[in-house]
Assembly symmetry: C2
Homo-oligomer: 224 residues x 2
DNA sequence: TCAAAAGTGTTAGATTTACACCCATGA
DNA sequence: TCATGGGTGTAAATCTAACACTTTTGA
């Protein structure tokens, strides 16, 4: 049974832009390409879509393969399919972006896969059209972040308000007024202050907060 | 030269959600599927990506094939690639949406292709995941329309403010206050009032306006 | 003469922005 | 004791939303 046999098939791959937040900077996980063509060039991590898997499943599998983590936040950026985007063969690639807490990523696994966290503002030239994928992924993530509380995916479960503010500054690329920021946060009941104090970041210590998912679904008024 | 031969290839197609505005309603161009499987079902118009064309070129070609029109506004919605989305074979499809002025579409061509303008709020069940494609395309278009003056692509070159308002109401799905709307329009210097009067829509007649692309690029302050 | 659509301003309320000082603590 | 990051409120400006009547003219 072959319905579309007069048309030609192409390879379809998935490339993942993995965002992390560390040292006050927004970072992307990239590595040296391990196959030809382009072996050794800086590249996003990716993989080919198998005959019996959907593209979302492929993205999940690829991400888990690299990070060992499940249930990460991931969204599609879009399809990239210029004829000559891949120097080897005709490949259409679907880009996804994912958010992870850098601390959750096992250091050994990172080294095994030979990938590194690079500041998004200092990315080297990447393989094929991967720089463009990163640009588009960032734009998408920025937009999403204004209206959905996904930033917490880049932070530990407990975080200080300064950390949260630095995160939003790093993602949006612009400074935020401390008092106005904290005022807005106070209005969101699903960002809960805990009794715990973080003593690492300052002498005085800063209150640790937590994102309450359940409270968010009951009253999802997020707007930054 | 075969780099990726251990991986399997799939068919890649393009499906186009063509939006039009007519009789105060937002409409989509759909037709009866002309091939197996699913022959006769309501469906978006689409086509397969050839080995030597990029996906954007494929979308352009598909759109021109159907409408005979060039330089239409078109944007990618995303890739759809569940394993079983197509009942015949494994096909990954990239959805695009396009905006056209219904009046520019040659009636004869429309009949030849056997497609119809259907109110987006009264769409029948469509082939495969096409209903979902339309939903996502609409959402994308709505978002874009708030910050970019793309609505004019759905109207004749000359239009009245009431037409423009009805368009925005149809796209956003909610009523807009007439006075507030016209106030905002007045602030945009690139929406120019002409000397011409439209006498079709009312006894009194309404001023016809025009979108000045050049003026927009000089001072792109659009916000609705 | 009247029905139908065009056109026009004001005001209250809500939201956004700008801005500076005291606090607690470890070194 | 002092340097460092934590924490707090107010006022002006801007933006948004609500709202009703007059005009023109073809039928």
């Amino acid at each position: 049974m072959t319905y579309y046999s007069e048309h030609s098939k192409v390879w379809v791959s998935v490339d993942v832009i993995i965002f992390g937040f560390d040292e006050g900077k927004l970072k992307v996980l990239i590595g040296r390409r391990q196959m030809d063509p382009g072996r050794g060039e800086w590249s996003l991590y990716g993989g080919f879509v198998a005959a019996d898997e959907g593209i979302d499943e492929c993205a999940d599998r690829t991400l888990r393969e690299l990070t060992g983590l499940k249930n990460l936040y991931m969204r599609q950026v879009g399809a990239f399919g210029s004829v000559n985007r891949d120097p080897g063969e005709r490949v259409v690639s679907i880009a996804y972006y994912a958010l992870i807490n850098v601390k959750d990523y096992d250091e050994k696994l990172r080294q095994e896969h030979n990938v590194e966290w690079i500041d998004i503002n200092s990315l080297p030239p990447l393989y094929s059209d991967h720089n463009e994928m990163v640009r588009q992924a960032l734009r998408r993530m920025q937009l999403k972040m204004r209206t959905q509380p996904i930033g917490f995916r880049l932070l530990p479960q407990l975080f200080t308000l300064t950390q949260l503010q630095r995160l939003y500054e790093a993602v949006s690329g612009q400074e935020i007024d401390k008092r106005n920021f904290r005022k807005r946060i106070k209005d969101m009941d699903f960002i809960e202050k805990t009794e715990l104090i973080d003593k690492k970041s300052s002498k005085r210590g800063a209150a640790l907060y937590r994102f309450n998912k359940k409270a968010y679904y009951e009253d999802p008024n997020f707007k930054l």
